[in-house]
Amino acid sequence: MAANQGMTLLRKSASDEKPPTVLPGDDGVAKLIDVSKCIGCKACQSACLEWNERHEEVGFNTGSYQNPHDLTAESWTLMRFSEWDNPATGNLEWLIRKDGCMHCADPGCLKACPSPGAIVQYANGIVDFVSEHCIGCGYCIKGCPFNIPRLSPVEQVVHKCSLCSDRVAVGGGPACAKACPTHAISFGTKAEMKTLAGQRITDLKSRGFDQAGLYDPAGVGGTHVMYVLHHADKPEIYAGLPANPHISRLVGVWKGAAKVAGLAAIGAAVVGAFVHHLLAGANRVSKEDEREATHLVEEAD
């Protein structure tokens, strides 16, 4: 999908939808996923496939509601189902988390990408893959702390959730949010979404979920997709949501020090060779060397 340069909508006629207005210096837009309201209907998955014109293969049942079994280059979002035995209450809790790109403020995918312009971050916080510049190397997969991007074996480019940047560019919200029947997915400015999350957390706490909280991890500079979790102290129970995600140190060294030091070392070696030749001069074979060799050979004959 090409990079969108949409203008920011201020108002929209005959509509209850209030397009998020992001002004310079704002925190940008955000999608808030309220895990406690999700019923696992997968309307968001269907809406995502349909809007983005992706075509998932017909899968197979392995005894889980989770279908497909993992994110793919087609399925950019996935309901992940986990069964958790709450030791405090003895209840078996069925946790459903809508997985997909978190749109990090500090995106590991973008840092790792070697192709100019193949990954862009918009001023509103959306991190988008631009397929025509993607070379299919899969470096973004190594950069991502959430294991989200998937290499398409057909197109040989990498795909992930675009936060429906094409819809947001014209004042809409993401297709998943539009399709969600329980309003578990909301979209707006990040400030609005934090306020909404605060209300939901207060409500959840009043219902006995003492550890309810917002998932907006600081290790990646905050994210533009956030979760309201009823057990925010244990994000791992939601199908392995990382407690403290950050860009791998290996990726940091590779894309930081190694790049600079590598080119510097190569440059220094070339310059060193030139300087050596200037100072030492060519190492030439002398007439005397040739005579000695001829003498040695003739002596042997």
Binding site: C137, I266, D289, A293, L296
Partner: protein, 221 residues
């Protein structure tokens, strides 16, 4: 003289010594070309300022596609060189003496250094260094060749592999620079890999022990 590696070059009034057979030279130049193509395509994906190099290979996608295949060619080609040259690259006592006198080596005072066999210590280090690096580059390269091998390793392993691949590649390029520069600096060396032979004087000056061995082999018993 009997059939041997030694020839008289009457027009120049000097001795000529065969150093590399035709097959060895072909083997070397396939390796050299694939290494240069690997370096150019690899560098283009290593640093954004060098991304323009992908234009040499038909764009970013094609560069990504073809780079590992250059690697496959190099591995097989270098394996041929390895089998050819490893016995001549075993470490000898005089190599340690050579290494201990870097000032004489760098100033080209070969006469102050011990008589050497077919290769000096620097050449041997290039040989073994490249051998180890190519094993490392091939292993790490397979690990990040996502088109075919994505499913076989974890993402954390791939992170380590991609960092190692870049670091090893820089080392290989540094060794390549030393190798090429040495061949240019020591005049009369390049013809060994182009024409297959060197002058007797070159052999006397840089690899006298090897010359003596060749002379001894040529002597009719």
């Amino acid at each position: 003289m009997v059939a041997s590696s030694l020839h008289k070059d009457a027009s120049h009034d000097q001795v000529v010594v065969d150093r590399y057979s035709g097959l060895a030279r072909i083997n070397h130049w396939i390796t050299a070309i694939s290494l240069i193509l690997l370096a150019l395509s690899g560098m283009s994906m290593f640093h954004p300022s060098l991304f323009f190099l992908t234009g040499l290979f038909g764009g970013g996608q094609w560069t990504r596609v073809i780079h590992p295949w250059f690697g496959v060619v190099l591995v097989f080609s270098f394996a041929g060189l390895f089998l050819r040259f490893w016995p001549a690259n075993l470490w000898r006592r005089e190599d340690s003496v050579w290494m201990a006198n870097p000032a004489d080596v760098l100033s080209g005072h070969d006469e102050r250094l011990p008589e050497l066999g077919r290769y000096n210590a620097g050449q041997k280090l290039v040989f073994w260094g490249m051998s180890l690096l190519i094993v490392g580059l091939f292993t790490s390269g397979i690990t990040i060749w996502d088109t075919y091998f994505f499913a076989y390793t974890s993402i954390e392993t791939k992170r380590l592999a991609v960092l190692a691949h870049a670091a090893l590649a820089v080392c290989a390029i540094l060794i390549w620079i030393v190798h090429v520069y040495a061949a240019i600096w020591v005049r009369g060396t390049v013809r060994a890999m182009v024409q297959g032979s060197v002058t007797g004087g070159w052999a006397w000056r840089h690899h006298r022990k090897w010359l003596r061995e060749e002379v001894a082999k040529a002597r009719p018993d």
